[in-house]
């Protein structure tokens, strides 16, 4: 069964017809040729496919494309080419060498942007002292919030440094 949907990807309106079994990740990669989000596990276990949908970070391999009809999707490619130059998180990843093979990197960057908005909004995490206490951007908070994005090259210390810098 097929369905026609509209996605706004990195600012561009894209209309496409998809098999209703298609995930958002496969729609982006296999149908639209948008390869910035990566496929590492296809089961929501590694975070490589993370994108921002209407401003929130989601795992695009666990989202069905038809359920995202009308969504505004931002990938790491969109963050890298914003109007005012690359996003501060993108720049910080480059500066801190917060990647090696680069495969998890677009997901890490989208996730970091999402995590920083969650911190700004005061949403608590497992690393927060108390749900009612004000949320501070500590290294422990960054590590906890970035733990859904695996990096087998082991760039975590540099990723934390990059996110910390971007938070300032």
């Amino acid at each position: 069964m097929e369905a026609t949907i509209t996605l706004h990807v990195d600012g561009y309106r894209r209309e496409l017809t998809v098999d209703t079994r298609t995930t958002l990740l496969d729609a982006l990669r296999d149908r639209l040729g948008e390869y910035s989000p990566k496929k590492g596990c296809d089961h929501g276990q590694c975070g490589a496919c993370t994108v921002l949908a209407d401003g929130r970070r989601i795992l695009s391999c666990l989202a069905l494309a038809v359920a995202q009809d009308g969504a505004h999707v931002t990938t790491a490619a969109g963050l890298a080419q914003g109007g005012g130059g690359p996003h501060r998180v993108t720049r910080a990843f480059l500066e801190h060498d917060a990647y090696q093979c680069g495969y998890c990197t677009p997901g890490q960057i989208c996730s970091a942007v999402g995590a920083l908005s969650e911190l700004e909004a005061g949403m608590p995490s497992h690393a927060t002292d108390h749900p009612d206490a004000p949320v501070r951007t500590t290294d422990a908070e960054i590590r906890e919030r970035m733990s859904g994005n695996l990096c087998r090259c082991g760039a975590y210390p540099a990723i934390v440094a990059a996110v910390r810098e971007a938070a300032q």
Partner: protein, 699 residues
């Protein structure tokens, strides 16, 4: 390097050439290469660990819309018999392990390929299987020379000396089956063009495009000139992408059945657990004989491992004990048993990594037995020459790494008693372990340099799997040509570029860099400092790159602080410090990332990694990233890596040695030794899961 100008590029922390493309996600990995008329392949894997395929019913799958071909052992093309049975894909109805390719579907969409694959009915006849390595397994044998050159080695009279020694330690350590799990699962796009003799293009996720071209042209009986392998960006490999595997062959079989279509084949994460290699479990018995002052008299290191029935592979875990410490009497042996398991292969520092976990744990136990500082024990056993070859060391800086590392970590004043420091609910301890890695230069790589429009283009078919090779080769070329690095362009990742060895064994920069220096020298000799348009020169890695009369190794020291929860047994590692001797560091930014990355993977091995085999069903049951745990961000805190400022021109003309693997060697021992210091509980089996610490212990 004599040609380095004072303001050279080597030694500068330049950012990665492909950095901007990677952070945007634009750097194309294998699956992301543009091809016309793509079709999608999904394999069908065996569900028994040993047996035969009795029948394959494909009708239902074939009738699905969009299905182009269903491949089985009955209709797949006959391949050349290369003697390597890993590549004999769909040739016989024999099942040698669970998760072996027994059929495949190619369809116009990935969804349809996957669904149709589920409709292929494979009738299997199971035979009794054996998938569990046990100590003293009845079918243990000594591996052949090809899999393990010098499987056994002996000096002096180790048995007699163990009888005589004042102190004898006899311990057995176990490491589990582990999987590489690079973030990019193995992927190929194969395109066969029928015109003329025919031509194969393979976009592949590989550590060696030339290796893949050579192997596949043999399997398909093609001239290497008919095959091109392209891999500009590779999402990690850690060894598993060091050779083609069965999936590459399957992609090409499908492509040759569908000329003109790019056959896209991305392994699922689950499929990578049976098709692209793993680290064998090891059972290692260490016997150390020493005098009361801690001088080793005898070292005996015996390792038992598994291999597959398809192909022999030996994890050479005991090799480290031939080199690390002075002892007049020593023996090391490797024994394998061929089980009905997938084919083991390289995983970061094969041999050294599990071997040094065992031997550095044993050294810690001996120090504890002698009530001696573990660094002092290593000082007493420092060999003047390489015990194995008798050659002088090119640069053995182990003691410097241990001593200076101890200073920087804050080792001194440590209370040696285990279970002596407690912070709240946590027992706290520190541990140390040594690291080493042999220096490897693979001969035969070729570099070509061409000058045009003020720019020097360096071409070599090397691979950058996240190491920084593209950046670092440009730095080496710039200094050897004595030109600014901005004027050097580097092309790698394509078998149509000059021959290059595999990115493995920490040999990449050493092997390719030596060819680059030779090519730059040839270029300068021929064309001088003001080359004409189109000037070019090429050279091959010289055979005599490494000083034959010296033992050339990298060394390092790991320090770790472990906290173990008294109630739950959970182990946390808030602080790790590594100090390494890797010769001259060509790019401090990328080398630091590599060393830290190795340490993080070592921490992951210490705390989490374990492929759990179901002995009844013959498969790894935790075959995904939710169940096969690798270190996540929250596991890693305060990891620091530094190095000694050195240069070793006996190793390479650049003065550098490899740095890709030493970070993982010894790391797990440092963590385990710290956990013992914290708790008094000596765990001799990885990973250090909480249950292992929930045992009764004295104060």
């Amino acid at each position: 390097m004599s040609t380095t100008s004072p303001a050279g590029a080597v030694g500068r922390p330049l950012p990665r050439t492909e950095g901007e493309a990677k952070v945007a996600g634009h750097a194309p990995y294998a699956y992301e290469q543009p091809v016309r008329d793509p079709v999608y392949l999904h394999p069908v894997l065996s569900t028994v660990a040993r047996g035969r395929v009795v029948a394959v019913e494909t009708a239902e799958a074939q009738e699905r819309p969009g299905v182009r071909v269903v491949l089985t052992h009955e209709n797949a093309e006959r391949l050349a018999r290369t003697g390597d049975r890993e590549f004999a894909v769909l040739q016989e109805p024999v099942i040698a392990f669970r998760g072996q390719i027994v059929a495949a579907v190619v369809a116009e969409t990935p969804e349809e390929a996957r669904y149709a694959a589920s409709l292929v009915r494979v009738q299997e006849r199971a035979e009794e299987h054996d998938v569990v390595l046990t100590q003293g397994h009845p079918r243990l044998y000594r591996p052949g020379e090809e899999a393990a050159p010098g499987a056994d080695s002996e000096q002096g009279e180790p048995d007699a000396e163990l009888e005589r020694a004042e102190v004898v330690l006899d311990r057995t350590y176990r490491t589990p089956m582990e999987h590489n799990n690079p973030m990019e699962p193995h992927t190929s796009i194969a395109l066969w063009e029928d015109s003329g003799q025919g031509h194969l293009t393979l976009y592949d996720s590989t550590q060696g495009p030339h290796t893949v071209r050579e192997t596949l042209s043999g399997v398909f009986g093609l001239d290497p000139g008919q095959v091109r392998v392209v891999s500009p960006h590779v999402g990690g490999g850690f060894g598993s992408k060091g050779s083609p595997h069965a999936h590459n062959v399957l992609a090409v079989v499908a492509a040759r059945a569908l000329p003109g279509h790019g056959v896209k084949f991305a392994l699922t994460r689950q499929q990578t657990f049976s098709l692209v290699g793993h680290r064998s479990p090891t059972i290692q018995r260490l016997r150390l004989g020493a005098d009361r002052d801690g001088r080793l008299r005898a070292v005996v290191h015996d390792s038992e491992e598994h291999t597959s029935t398809v192909k022999e592979f030996a994890e050479q875990s005991a090799v480290c004990s031939r080199t690390m410490y002075a002892a007049p009497h020593r023996r090391s042996t490797h024994r394998l048993t061929a089980l009905d398991v997938p084919i083991p292969f390289w995983m970061r520092a094969p041999g050294e990594c599990p071997g040094m976990y065992a031997s550095e744990s044993a050294m810690d136990e001996l120090a504890h037995e002698l009530d001696m500082d573990p660094i002092e024990l290593r000082e007493r056993n420092e060999p003047e020459r390489d015990p194995q070859s008798g050659r002088p060391w090119s640069d053995r800086s182990l003691l410097r790494c241990l001593r200076e590392g101890a200073e920087r970590f804050g080792w001194h004043g440590r209370d040696r008693r285990p279970r002596a420091r407690r912070e709240g609910d946590w027992w706290v301890g520190t541990g140390v372990a040594a690291a080493f890695y042999p220096h490897v230069v693979i001969p035969g790589s070729q570099a070509r340099i061409e000058y045009a429009s003020g720019c020097y283009t360096l071409r070599i078919g090397a691979a950058d799997i996240g190491t920084g090779a593209r950046t670092v080769l440009g730095q080496i070329a710039a200094d050897a040509l004595e030109v600014p690095v901005e004027r050097v362009r580097v092309e790698i990742g394509d078998s149509s570029l000059p021959q290059a060895s595999v990115a493995g064994g920490s040999s990449g920069t050493s092997s390719w860099g030596s060819a680059v220096v030779a090519a730059a020298r040839a270029f300068t000799e021929e064309h001088g400092a003001a080359p004409g348009e189109g000037a070019r020169a090429a050279a091959t890695t010289p055979e005599e790159t490494v000083a034959e009369d010296h033992a050339v190794y990298s060394f390092g020291a790991h320090f770790a602080e472990a906290w173990v929860n008294d109630d739950t047994g959970e182990v946390r590692v808030p602080r790790m410090y590594g100090l390494f001797s890797v010769g001259r560091v060509i790019n401090p930014r990328t080398v630091r990332s590599q060393l830290i990355g190795g340490m993080v993977m070592g921490l992951s091995m210490a705390l989490h990694e374990h492929s759990v085999v179901d002995e009844r069903r013959g498969l790894v049951v935790n075959q995904d990233l939710a169940q096969y745990h690798v270190a996540a961000n929250a596991d890693v805190a305060g990891v620091q890596a530094e190095w000694l400022e050195q240069s070793d021109t006996r190793a390479t003309p650049m003065g550098s040695r490899g740095a890709g693997e030493i970070g993982i060697v010894g790391t797990a021992a440092a963590v385990a030794n710290a956990a013992h210091h914290a708790t008094g509980v000596r765990v001799r089996e990885l990973p250090l899961t909480p249950d292992r610490f929930l045992v009764e212990t004295g104060p």
